[in-house]
Symmetry: C2
Subunit: 409 residues, 2 copies
Amino acid sequence: MTLLNPHYLKLQGSYLFATIAQRVRAYKEAHGDAQVISLGIGDVSQPLVPAVVNALEEACREMGHAETFRGYGPEQGYAFLREAVAKHDYQARNLDIQADEIFISDGAKSDVANFQELFDLNSTVALQDPVYPVYLDTNVMAGRTGVFENGRYGRIIYLPCTQEHGFVPQLPKGHADIIYLCSPNNPTGAALTKSQLQMWVDYARTHKSLILFDSAYEAYITDPDLPHSIYEIPGAREVAVEFRSFSKTAGFTGTRCAYTVVPKTVQVYDQSGHAHMLCDLWLRRQTTKFNGVPYVIQRAAQAVYCEQGQTQIRKVIALYHQNAQIILQALTQAGMTAFGGQNAPYIWLKTPAGMPSWDFFELLLQQAQVVGTPGVGFGLCGEGFFRLTAFNTPELTKQAAQRIARLKL
Amino acid sequence: MTLLNPHYLKLQGSYLFATIAQRVRAYKEAHGDAQVISLGIGDVSQPLVPAVVNALEEACREMGHAETFRGYGPEQGYAFLREAVAKHDYQARNLDIQADEIFISDGAKSDVANFQELFDLNSTVALQDPVYPVYLDTNVMAGRTGVFENGRYGRIIYLPCTQEHGFVPQLPKGHADIIYLCSPNNPTGAALTKSQLQMWVDYARTHKSLILFDSAYEAYITDPDLPHSIYEIPGAREVAVEFRSFSKTAGFTGTRCAYTVVPKTVQVYDQSGHAHMLCDLWLRRQTTKFNGVPYVIQRAAQAVYCEQGQTQIRKVIALYHQNAQIILQALTQAGMTAFGGQNAPYIWLKTPAGMPSWDFFELLLQQAQVVGTPGVGFGLCGEGFFRLTAFNTPELTKQAAQRIARLKL
């Protein structure tokens, strides 16, 4: 008899965004004429920039000729892309990251989901609350948690990110082996300062812990003092892995390319206390379970780093920033309190009069035909909050903002 | 202290093809002028066919315009591709497989590697020997095996595929929960008949086991009586998952697209004996850990099914078949015995005078500058055998064949 992985049964309901999609479908079916605007899942609206499309088309043509055709590529990614990443995203900022420490993948979601496979099932996991559900659910599925009771999984160390502390996670009292941090944060939009991040790096060095740092939204940082990479923090090369994505930086949500940085100086330990290079373990995982990102997509990602590519994507990011400001203004007009949107594409609003998140989801859908994401979907500490994103078109964002400004609360 | 997954330490050496690549690099460095021909890893040589390139380019242009841009797609794959797969690969052959039972992915390697996550760690795994290493290594990494001793992992049920039985696996004496079958087979090139496959489906139904059926090479079947899909076998819809790929069918090794069929009638069980739909579990896995295949790649895969696409890919497959015949002839000329190559792109040769596989690897590299894959790299029962593939260009295959025919054995 084939027994299923019993940990799957601990999972709560279906995946957050799938649930939202179902509710929106049901609303649309009941209101055929409703023009629903999504400020929800965080998908981008702007097309790929011309430099990227040109590189993509050129690579497609290469695939049609025997002389330039590419079959299996290196599982870790082509050197041309890894070198571009290392040079532009790290070395140009005086950060010591080399091309052979970069792993190209089909998405930061896949990488943050798969990375936990490298660790002992008894490892203690700490994560922010509210949190991007993938960090948590993948550890549930692996069996690194107890059962779900009163809104919490056993064995997980939750790091509450509350309004009181500016949505910044505080160090845990106990010991955590693996710490997921996301800055600029999804969903709260809060970005960690260098000193806040230093505190975590110091903790990880003291405890021989590992930080899995998700900086998928670093391109949205406007404050010049905020760190874009955890490797700006002294000591981070010993204790941190960094996840980045082209999804929000260059509109690759449907094009699929991301990368993970695993410095050769990060070590993990076996039961006897012997150190092993984490980089080697991830390489082994990727060569065994993955066959790399399509060649044409890697050429597209490379084009993000050329001069025109950089100019073009910065314009798109500026447009999304402008959207965020428009949403923030509308929320203020409606009398609501909101956070984020300055160094992140996410706006984290406080629901009026402490309304539960899912109630506000319905209110917003019914009154304004605007879709957002209930804060509680990201964790208990997200209850009473709600996430809006800046990724829709300027036109629809303005329309949504007008409707939000008129909400009867 | 962050402990690593202890099962990674059970893995033997590095991944087979990575080892081969290292040896070839070393040989080339020592012999600067050597023209090495690879009949090794099984990468294709022919470019994408025009119908596919056109669809790819068209989709790239769509990505550059707001009206036709695509962001996140469905994790399971776009309906246009799932419907094309269901219609052409199954319904047109009178097989009852629906579009919502198809899951599009970035590769059969990823899918066969990830699928084991759905099952209890105490499940008993049966696999063919010799075998594609990914089935085995991913179960080692998950902890579903004992340690490696005398060439075997504990707890794995090995199904010897020997010359005596035409490289066909025999039913195990004991109980297996999860059975990996690959037909047409990599590496032996043997294809299971309907009655042989029926035997396995009957076993799985009796034992409430699950068959993970890899039919990545079905397009190479020439014998009209052989099954292309396990769903041609009565009862298979209750006990089998099928993996397919565009890699060898349409030259997608560097383009990355594949699919997995999980019929809604396949059930697995929890500890209390309650049945669960496997299809739901896989959907949950994919929505949590994967964000789908690039839109442009899915359009490229769809084009494989159009009339021109079908005509064009069949020509390429015929060319590889011709290569296989050329290699088989050369092996006969050299006095060797070889199998496969009729219903598969793989040729499985018996090394001369029982020479160990890796010795023959060196002999072939040194004498003929031809690279192949040592049979023992696929398992103990592969010792004394060697795999060659039909995927190089006709020109280089002919050159390699001439060199092979002249081998001094």
